[in-house]
Symmetry: C2
């Protein structure tokens, strides 16, 4: 994943409204108005959040007449998870090496 794509993905995930929208889309596609309904903010504000999610390619838009139907694209989520997991593996590998070194030292 290109760095800038990770930037967009992580930034998109850094807001509770957007995370809630993703969660909602997890159970199936929805229109903009439907997505906006639970939130105490204007439709326009939600529309902007959706654009942030689109920039990160976390959601896709399909037009059906005057309705815009949003659906989840899990790939960036996979790639974000992959980055985090890589860090954790690297980190624990180094911790293990440290432990082995300490064990040698204690001998």
């Amino acid at each position: 994943m290109k760095a800038v794509a990770l930037d967009h993905t992580m930034l998109a995930l850094a807001d509770p409204t957007r995370r809630a929208i993703l969660q909602r889309l997890g159970s199936g596609e929805a229109r903009v108005t439907e997505l906006a309904a639970p939130f105490a903010m204007s439709l326009n504000a939600v529309s902007k959040h959706i654009r942030v999610l689109e920039r990160a390619e976390l959601v896709q838009r399909r037009r059906a007449g005057r309705e815009h139907i949003l659906s989840l694209n899990p790939k960036p989520l996979d790639e974000a998870a992959a980055w985090i997991d890589e860090q954790r593996r690297f980190w624990t590998a180094n911790l293990d090496a440290l432990e082995r070194a300490l064990a040698d030292y204690e001998d």
Copy 2:
């Protein structure tokens, strides 16, 4: 994980400089100057990035004389990964349900 903590974690991860700092800290603790060395920006800028990482509790600071020694705290990383994984499980569960429904429909 509280929503605001996830906000801070994800936001901290949404910048390549900060991700590089975390990666560096994966192989062991380091001083501020050491962390700043690879970057084409002022020490002050890196100092601010570190504060963002501290707000997310991704790094911890220990003072040793005039040096500040930073180390990784992987817990928020674990929690961010957990959030993402939860979404993915939920999403694939719903996809599976959809597939089963379609299979039933086709019968």
